[in-house]
């Protein structure tokens, strides 16, 4: 088990005459380190536990902990918990959700918006991914993809602001429309579900594009050629070959984009109006005040997360069944 550092060797294994002992050799033969290493590796079992202890602890306390604490807070009747008083568990916080349309309207609006925006993202990015994977030479693919990646390194707020400038009453779109004489006065794009949609598709497009691209890239070109030789037109080839074989990419892209777009807060605040209040704003409203409303906010967050998980779960199941059905 000893790391023999007394003879120093170069990369070919020849002994090197002199010089100080290499760093790792000194470490390996240092008494306290030896004791430590022997302690760590006394048995494979102990070695595993020492390796696993910290990650497991981290995952439980840092990844699961916040979720569980949110669930707990959503179930207690008074918050912050006054010392000495027993806490009562209650479902009242969840009941508030059903009691008032100013709560469940934004909820259903958020889910509808997220679904519609996800679909729009899919429709917009599929041809782009298809073009990249099928019609661009291998050498240029990365360059073309990189070009699209650049704007996506820019933050959420900056990109939202960019959309505000694009769609404003004196913005570029209205300017161009006026130029061509299509309109006399500016169209108020901003603070509508349209501006919100443009913004959210802008922010999420990459998360759709990458799974689609990697699915399309794996698709063998020979299949398309064979189908073409057998007389299948472009649309048939797309419907019968590309689409079924990229369902996995579609399903993971849609899941990702749906989950992300339910969670946007700043974008709806900046791009949306009073008629497009989303559930994230409702939830956030409970956290602007000192704390007694937190349990309701937590309950609403739990409702939203559960709903998003159920929807994406059902969606993935459906896609899976579709895939199974197609290969038969």
């Amino acid at each position: 088990m000893t790391y023999d550092a007394s003879v120093r060797k170069d990369s070919d294994g020849h002994a090197v005459a002199s010089g100080p002992r290499p760093f790792w050799g000194r470490v390996a033969n240092w008494g306290p380190y030896r004791a430590f290493a022997v302690f760590l590796t006394a048995s494979p079992r102990r070695q595993f536990f020492i390796l696993a202890a910290f990650p497991i602890l981290w995952l439980l306390t840092q990844h699961l902990g916040p979720m569980l604490q949110m669930l707990r807070v959503s179930l207690i009747d008074a918050y912050p918990v006054a010392p000495g008083t027993p806490q009562e568990f209650t479902l009242d916080n969840y009941m508030r959700f059903f009691g008032d349309s100013i709560f469940w309207m934004p909820f259903f609006r958020t889910l509808t918006f997220a679904a519609v925006f996800t679909f729009c993202t899919l429709i917009i990015t599929y041809p782009v991914a298809y073009f990249l994977a099928r019609h661009v030479s291998r050498k240029n693919q990365m360059l073309f993809l990189l070009l699209l990646l650049i704007p996506f390194w820019v933050g959420e707020i900056v990109r939202t602001y960019a959309i505000m400038i694009l769609l404003g009453n004196t913005g570029a779109v209205n300017l161009v429309l006026k130029w061509f004489g299509l309109i006399d006065r500016p169209i108020p794009f901003m603070y509508t579900s349209f501006s919100m949609g443009v913004g959210i598709v802008y922010l999420t497009a990459l998360y759709m594009l990458l799974p689609l691209y990697s699915a399309l890239e794996k698709l063998p070109q020979s299949m398309n050629e064979a189908a073409a030789d057998l007389g299948a037109g472009a649309w048939t080839r797309f419907r019968r070959i590309s689409l079924p074989l990229t369902i996995e990419g579609i399903s993971s892209g849609c899941t990702l984009v749906f989950l992300i777009s339910t969670g946007f807060y700043a974008t709806p605040v900046l791009l949306g109006g009073p008629s497009t209040t989303v559930f994230a704003e409702t939830i956030a409203g409970f956290f602007h005040v000192a704390g007694d409303e937190w349990p309701t906010g937590a309950a609403f967050a739990v409702i939203m997360f559960a709903a998003a998980l159920v929807i994406t779960g059902v969606f993935q199941k459906l896609m899976y069944m579709l895939r199974k059905g197609d290969t038969r």
């Binding site: 390996a28 073009f131 990249l132 070009l147 704007p151 933050g155 807060y265």
Partner: protein, 269 residues
């Protein structure tokens, strides 16, 4: 046969148009935003009659804005350090090892990346309060660190899966204990993945709004500052700040992309 080629060409031109239209869609808003930062007027919008650099001069002489830049960068660096250490450790545990509960461990690992932004932010807010962490820099660093762990972990796991096992075995045969074998073989092999994912974490943290907003104290991070300024109205000053942030993040992103491409090529060669 000719017919087929014709069809393909039609398709290709159509798809190319869509691609370039998409490129316009992702670039035009940012370009307009940059242009607006040079407009010599308080009002955002067209037409632009005269140009100025005053907004940029303002940004670089505004102590608060400069401080916010530094604050955001510091948060990004600290949280990335934590994410990288923890993420790599978890990756080493998960990759190529079978143990009871591995699937659950993996699911727990990716959880923070899948939770929608607002929910993740308030869950962290509630947990921080329960732990007694005051809103402020520490809370933001912690939330960013936890949120970014899955990204490091997935990238490092992917790299780790390509590590030739024979190298570790050779090191062990030559008498290195597992710890030394890890430090001298595994870790150097993981360096490209670790560097690549840490750049990604830096950008995620620097750009993050929702967690910084809910866990921040009185000092805003850069996205929170821009958000607050936007609430009180658009101004070319915001364009100048946003442009500086944009140039910074895009430059770091492009550099990182080139760097990872190069190191990947080298290790394949």
């Amino acid at each position: 046969m000719n017919n087929r080629v014709e069809l393909n060409r039609g398709n290709r031109i159509f798809l190319a148009c869509i691609y370039w239209a998409f490129v316009l869609y992702v670039f035009v808003p940012l370009i307009l935003m940059i242009i607006m930062g040079f407009k010599d007027s308080k009002f955002i919008g067209f037409p632009i009659r005269s140009w100025t650099l005053d907004w940029y001069k303002g940004v670089f002489s505004d102590a608060e804005v400069l401080y916010t830049f530094g604050y955001s960068v510091a948060i990004a660096i600290l949280s990335t350090l934590i994410s990288v250490i923890v993420g790599t450790w978890i990756a080493v545990l998960l990759e190529g090892r079978k143990f009871w509960g591995r699937a659950v461990t993996f699911a727990l690992m990716v959880l923070p990346a899948l939770v929608p932004g607002i929910i993740s932010a308030i869950a962290f807010r509630i947990y921080a309060r329960w732990l007694g962490i005051e809103p402020g820099m520490g809370a933001i660093v912690w939330a960013h660190a936890v949120h970014n762990v899955p990204f490091v972990c997935l990238v490092v796991m992917a790299r780790l899966s390509t590590l030739p096992k024979s190298q570790i075995e050779a090191a062990r045969d030559l008498g290195a204990d597992p710890l030394i074998a890890f430090m001298r073989i595994t870790l150097p092999y993981l360096v490209p993945a670790i560097l690549g994912s840490s750049i990604f974490c830096l950008l995620l943290s620097f750009d993050d709004f929702v967690r910084s907003f809910f866990l921040g104290g009185y000092e805003p991070t850069l996205p929170v500052l821009i958000f607050a300024m936007l609430r009180s109205g658009m101004s070319p000053e915001i364009n100048a700040i946003a442009t500086v942030a944009l140039v910074l993040t895009a430059a770091v992103g492009i550099w990182a992309e080139r760097f990872t491409r190069r190191t990947n090529k080298e290790s394949q060669a």
